[in-house]
């Protein structure tokens, strides 16, 4: 009895001791580790509007390479529109440091900047900390930043690990907010265990009077989901070689849909993933190799696609396997023919993607109040042109109450003729419009545009 009490007391003391050690430790750990986090501000200069954006960066290396929170830099906006990237040290009243945008990796969708040298003393790369794999139920902590008027003051969030899932990359879920999106998460020893994902909507039911609605709520400054540190670091250093126009692998397929479990069973494809290819782009590598619309892909390079839940994750896995290729590599697709169910293997060379929407050249004609950009494959698929043989340009922007707006031109209109002259290329369009704007005697011009698969003749009165 006496002995038992003694043991209990001893264990209590040990417990208290470890608790207080942790507490001391945590604030020290926090002070060291907040140096890996910065706040980043930048601007998007559009034709007439200017937008400011705020995001969080994680310092990756000792030379000021910073990765930005997922999804905070629009992937369709041309790089030339981004201006004035500024890095702020959390909690410091300082004008900030200049940074340069390095581009977006097409595999992960992650964006990078490099901050000027003067900032290097104030930051600490995440690489300098140990990496660990968190365990279910383990208490962990992360960093959250307050808004700009608080000088982005950093705070500490604590939670426990509730779930780990491969989607296909390993993601961890906590019981409550663990960090701001883009900020790091650590265990109680200070080991780096993950990178805050963008917030995932939480299902809630909202009652208003007698009505109830199901809503998804996202917290803008905190997330309960994070990328596993080891998996993150493996992919985090894919900094684009060029800020624009990095050559991307491409095979020329569109409209991929996961084959759900019931349908897979019907087709005799149990226990594996499968992806339906809706369309094949004429003139692309897959079409040349004989892939057809409605073919179902079941494997890449001899490896079957794994089964995932929800079904949509198999699509991510499939796309990632293709994106990991380089133009010129060979890819082998295991295919179940949509018509008849014959199984085939198609091997072919991966091509290079045509100009991406983000890299499409564009020009704003302020006198006429509109901007045009080159027609891209993205536009083609949206307009059911399933080949690389496309012409015309896209109306990118129309200034309200400008002469083009008065003529009825809308953003997204596909310009096919200018003054009755077919527009074959982007250069044709720029040449024709410039000629019009430079001729002071011109009073009007006429556009033939296509909108919702119907054409219209629009007359633009100049001035």
């Amino acid at each position: 009895m006496y002995r038992n009490t003694l043991i209990l007391a001893a264990s209590l003391i040990v417990g208290l001791a470890s608790l207080s050690a942790n507490e001391v430790d945590l604030s020290t750990l926090f002070e060291e580790r907040i140096k890996s986090v910065v706040s980043v501000e930048f601007f998007i200069q559009k034709e007439i509007d200017r937008e400011s954006r705020e995001t969080i960066g994680l310092v990756l290396d000792d030379n000021g390479l910073i990765i930005l929170a997922e999804g905070t830099v629009p992937s369709w906006t041309p790089v030339s529109k981004f201006e004035d990237f500024t890095v702020y040290i959390p909690g410091k009243d300082h004008k900030g440091y200049d940074a340069e945008y390095l581009g977006q990796d097409y595999l992960t969708g992650w964006d990078y900047i490099r901050v000027e040298e003067a900032a290097l003393e104030e930051v600490m790369a995440i690489q300098n900390f140990e990496v660990a794999e968190p365990r279910l139920g383990e208490s962990i902590w992360g960093i959250a930043l307050l808004p700009k008027d608080y000088d982005f003051a950093p705070g500490l969030l604590k939670a426990y690990l509730g779930l780990t899932r491969d989607m296909p990359h390993r993601m961890h879920f906590t019981d409550q907010d663990i960090a701001s999106p883009g900020a790091p998460i650590f265990n109680m020893h200070g080991d780096f265990i993950g990178w805050g994902n963008q917030g995932v909507p939480e299902d809630k039911i909202m009652y208003m009077g007698r009505e109830s609605y199901s809503v998804g709520l996202v917290s803008p400054r905190g997330t309960r989901v994070f990328h596993d540190a080891a998996d993150f670091l493996e992919r985090a250093f894919r900094v684009p070689a060029m800020v624009t126009g990095s050559p991307r692998p491409w095979i020329g397929i569109a409209g991929m849909q996961p084959v759900d479990q019931d349908a897979a069973e019907f087709l005799g494809l149990e226990n594996q993933g499968a992806v339906m290819i809706s369309n094949v782009i004429e003139g692309g590598p897959a079409a040349a190799a004989g892939l057809l619309g409605r073919d179902i892909v079941t494997g890449v390079d001899g490896e079957p696609l794994p089964k995932f839940r929800p079904d949509s994750i198999v699509l991510r896995e499939f796309e990632e396997r293709l994106r990991k290729k380089s133009p010129g590599d060979t890819v082998t697709l295991a295919v179940v023919r949509g018509d008849g169910g014959a199984r085939e293997e198609l091997s072919f060379e991966v091509g290079q993607a045509p100009t991406h929407l983000r890299d499409a050249p564009r020009e704003y004609f302020s006198d006429l109040g509109f901007s045009v950009r080159a027609f891209t494959l993205f536009d083609a698929i949206g307009r059911r042109v399933l080949s690389l043989d496309y012409t015309g340009v896209i109306t990118q922007f129309v200034r309200p109450n400008s002469s083009t707006a008065s003529a009825g031109l809308l953003p997204g209109d596909w310009i096919q003729e200018i003054d009755g002259i077919p527009v074959n290329t982007y250069d044709d369009a720029i040449h024709l419009i410039t000629t019009i704007t430079e001729d002071p005697s011109r009073e009007e011009f006429v556009l033939l545009i296509s909108r919702n698969n119907e054409t219209q003749v629009l007359r633009v009165k100049i001035g």
Partner: protein
């Protein structure tokens, strides 16, 4: 001589009050008109929720013949009507049957059940058409009908505009309306339930069929002109439907574009768009072409209001006949001959497969062109019933079913026969659907 002149003057003076002040109340033909206007109660099938349901509506109509033909709106009575009950002006109720309908003009023709009328010795009268082409803005008109269920309501106003044009109007339920006619605009109060009732002059002549009003605005009502209604009525009496021709050009007004196209004013019609795969497209007509004449008849499409009559010239050509379009393209003149095909509605036949909880509509050629589908095969889903096989399989309204059990699906009839075998032996069904051109596979499991 003088007396004669005085007599003549007196005669004129006697007549004058009649023209200036004779209200409809003092006028027998107006009373006759009031007796010709009926209330129409309709029970119609609806298929849009994954099952067949019955909806009920109230509208108006006007008896136009001795045989009891009643003109009303296509959006009041459609071929989906299961029961039509007419309330005559004398408050007697009698059943009626659909004779034909034409959503392009939003008109339908029904007929009183004449046997029932004879059996019960019922009396009715009929109204007369007036000439809608001589109406002028400011002219006094009356609307008669059943607004919000209030039978035999008369409202008064004027013609606000005699040739109102609505561009590219889609009418009720996705049906196209107003391509071949302009509208009479009136400020006589028109409310829901007035639909199908007559717009009349003070002598009781029907000059329009009240069709629509702007909700939330004051006194902006629209009627189908009587001249259109008369044509449609006799055509429907003749053959239950109106056959029109289609070539696939979308006209546009030429106003302000004459200089660019180097044209004299009041000449030609602009081809704004040519439907992909249409006869006009195949014959080589192009957007931006100017049609100078149609079968030798010069056309003038300078203003939007002038376009419906031109479209009507094309529509009135017998199906399968060639039409000669004299066109101007740049500086060259050309004659292009286009063989017409039958005009078809966007809205195909509908059906509900109740065991699947699935309502579908046949894919029409127009929908296939609009949505850039490869062809008009397949059926489009218009509704699903929650917790039934279709909704559990994850299909949505707007999806197009292109294959069933890995066999291409042609049309609704084919799906109906597949459904029959499902009813006798419920089994899993594999659907291939196209949603925004993305193909996916869905399995319906029996409930």
């Amino acid at each position: 001589m003088i007396i004669q002149q005085i007599n003549r003057l007196a005669g004129l003076l006697c007549l004058a009050p009649f023209f200036l002040h004779a209200g409809p109340e003092s006028n027998g033909s107006f009373k006759n008109l009031l007796e010709s206007v009926v209330r129409i109660d309709v029970w119609q099938a609806s298929y849009d929720q994954g099952s067949k349901r019955t909806t009920r509506g109230v509208g108006s109509g006007v008896i136009m013949t001795e045989a009891g033909h009643i003109l009303t709106n296509a959006h009041v009575v459609s071929p989906k009507a299961e029961r039509i009950r007419v309330t005559l002006a004398n408050l007697e109720r009698v059943e009626a049957n659909l004779v034909g309908w034409d959503h392009w003009t939003d008109l339908a023709l029904i007929q009183l059940d004449i046997e029932q009328v004879a059996e019960r010795g019922m009396q009715f009268t009929h109204a007369e058409f007036g000439d809608s082409t001589i109406l002028f803005p400011g002219q006094e008109v009356f609307a008669v009908g059943t607004p919000n269920g209030l039978s035999r309501t008369v409202t008064k106003g004027i013609i606000s505009n005699a040739t109102r044009y609505f561009e590219g109007a889609l009418g009720f339920g996705g049906y196209e309306t107003g391509h071949f006619n302009t509208w009479l605009q009136t400020d006589a109060a028109i409310n829901p339930g007035n639909s199908g009732g007559p717009l009349v002059t003070d002598d009781g002549h029907v000059v329009g069929i009240n069709t629509r009003g702007y909700l939330g605005s004051n006194n902006l009502g629209f009627a189908v002109p009587a001249n259109t209604a008369r044509y449609v009525m006799y055509a429907l009496m003749d053959s239950e439907r109106i056959t029109r021709s289609y070539v696939g050009i979308v006209p546009g007004p030429l106003q302000d574009l004459e200089d660019f196209f180097n044209l004299d004013v009041n000449q030609g019609m602009l081809v704004n768009s040519v439907d992909p795969g249409s006869p006009a497209k195949l014959a080589g007509l192009r957007p931006g072409d100017i049609v100078l004449s149609i079968d030798g008849q010069a056309v003038d499409g300078r203003f939007p209001e002038q376009l419906p009559p031109i479209s009507n010239i094309i529509a009135s050509t017998p199906v399968g006949d060639p039409i000669r379009f004299e066109i101007k393209r740049g500086d060259t003149l050309e004659v292009i001959e286009v063989v017409t095909e039958g005009l078809e509605s966007r809205v195909g036949e509908e059906f509900a497969f109740e065991d699947w909880g699935l309502s579908v509509r046949d894919v029409s050629r127009a929908i296939a062109r609009e949505r850039q589908l490869d062809n008009d095969n397949g059926v489009m889903i218009i509704g699903t019933q929650p917790a039934f096989p279709a909704s559990r399989a994850g299909v949505h309204p707007g999806d197009i079913i292109t294959k069933v059990n890995q066999q291409s699906l042609e049309d609704l009839t084919q799906l109906q026969s597949i459904y029959e075998s499902f009813e006798s032996d419920p089994n899993k069904v594999l659907l291939e659907i196209s949603r925004n051109h993305q193909i996916s596979l869905k399995v319906m499991q029996p409930n």
